[in-house]
Symmetry: C2
Subunit: 327 residues, 2 copies
Amino acid sequence: MTEPSDPLSPTRKPSREGIERAAKKIAAILPPTPLMPLKHGDSTIWCKAECLQPMGAFKIRGAWHRLSDMSEDERARGVVAFSSGNHAQGVAWAAKRLNMRATIVMPADAPQRKIDATRGYGADIITFDRRSDDRVAIAQAFAKETGAIVVPSFDDPWIIEGQGSTGLEALVQIIAQAGISPDKVVTCCGGGGLAAGIALALPGAKITVVEPDGWDDMGVSLRGKKIVPVGADAPATVCDALQTPLVSPLTFNILKDCRAQAVSVSDDEVFAAMRHAHERLRLVLEPGGAVALAAILAGKVEIDDRTLVILSGGNVDPALFSRALAA
Amino acid sequence: MTEPSDPLSPTRKPSREGIERAAKKIAAILPPTPLMPLKHGDSTIWCKAECLQPMGAFKIRGAWHRLSDMSEDERARGVVAFSSGNHAQGVAWAAKRLNMRATIVMPADAPQRKIDATRGYGADIITFDRRSDDRVAIAQAFAKETGAIVVPSFDDPWIIEGQGSTGLEALVQIIAQAGISPDKVVTCCGGGGLAAGIALALPGAKITVVEPDGWDDMGVSLRGKKIVPVGADAPATVCDALQTPLVSPLTFNILKDCRAQAVSVSDDEVFAAMRHAHERLRLVLEPGGAVALAAILAGKVEIDDRTLVILSGGNVDPALFSRALAA
């Protein structure tokens, strides 16, 4: 019995069994993303290139796990999601593959290529103003009006389990390639879905979450042992994918319980990591996808030869990428 | 009996059995590079991301096959190679792993990062002037003086077999991912080692080699059925990796016998392919590594859902990469 007793219950908690089930479903349609060794100082760290997923980020995992678990009736109702871009593309990609309607609520200032790509997968898009509108309210109003099912970007057991499959997949690869298992994981954190999922997937590993400077609400919350939103005076950040104003009890409690630590990085540190990945790994990383590597290059996280670092996304406009290369 | 009768004979011809042996040796130390589907027009083509090899290009394959087949005595003598950069890094990488000395003869105008990376693997470097010096003569003189073994960049059965393992590896992946085998292969061509190796590895597939405009000596040779060098008036090209002045009977005859076709691409077409790979695949391609995709995007090669395209390398200076993104 490896499946949760009621995997479709709306009140269930994310579980290691759910992650195993998600990993199996994802492996059936997507080849594993590469796990690439990278020498840094005296260590060789292991980079999981989730930027190479078909829509360019790990978000495809949670979206596929959630949508493919829906009943026929649920599928007919369609889905609605709110996202700065990568969850949007993940949901749109999964919906297209399952022949479902998807509507995405996206900030008007999301990178143009994320908006274009989401529309390219056939999704309808509703834009909102990141500073004045409530994206959750917009999505919920749309759901009430049309019957569509809301697919949250992190506060959901399926989403957390789907993202957590990244950890299981990497575990298998590290064992195959180096005969070892990871003892440290460094990962980005917006709402915390990926970090919480990996924490459940790799219970023996020390988790470090990385956020942009000023958007480090998960770090503040973990240190204070209670959820605190991002401050109203949060500075601008190049990490469009990580501008999540408030984490959820679900992700927070998982990370608190496993004693995750948190650090934050500056735009310049992010740009340095994007350059490094370009030169050493030949990968295109978006700012939010480079924060974990940035924290390591900046010396903010202790590493060893069993350190797994998630390169979580690669959807970045060419002009911003060139700015990072020139920085 | 899958091995050639005398795999170490210096006069042997490259063979399919040799490619199988190379593929096995390479699979023992390097995970397969990803095979990524890419929608183009009504077709989905299959991109083999050799730019994700540890040193950034397929050249690691031939170098590993050649050096790892050397006897203890040969290993003690060390190796010398001439290369604009990727074969250099491949040989240096393999030599380091086998604890051998490597000396590389490189053009003084090779991309700085290729020179730095080659030195980073512990190789000694001798630079030459691409316009006035004879790199083969320099390498041979060094070999005569020191006893080092010359490792050619394409005119060698081991090198051709090693590069050919790209084709076998992709074959296994296409079958696993889509249940089909490739009927067309589009690949870059400098000296023709990769193209000839893939032609032997996938005998049923139609091979198209792609060269930079004005450096299309393989194309001219194939059409005229005899080897012709690059003209003295060849224009400048951004494809530093494909500036090979003369192909060899070994590679030429394999490609002639399988009726390979050849096309050439402009710098602008190459830049467009680099942008496309950045946006759609999140891969960093160097100009020479993007020519095969460039030919497809420019509509110069017929494609279908069984078309394999080799993205052969990703070692490019950031300034040139930004130029491609802005073009």
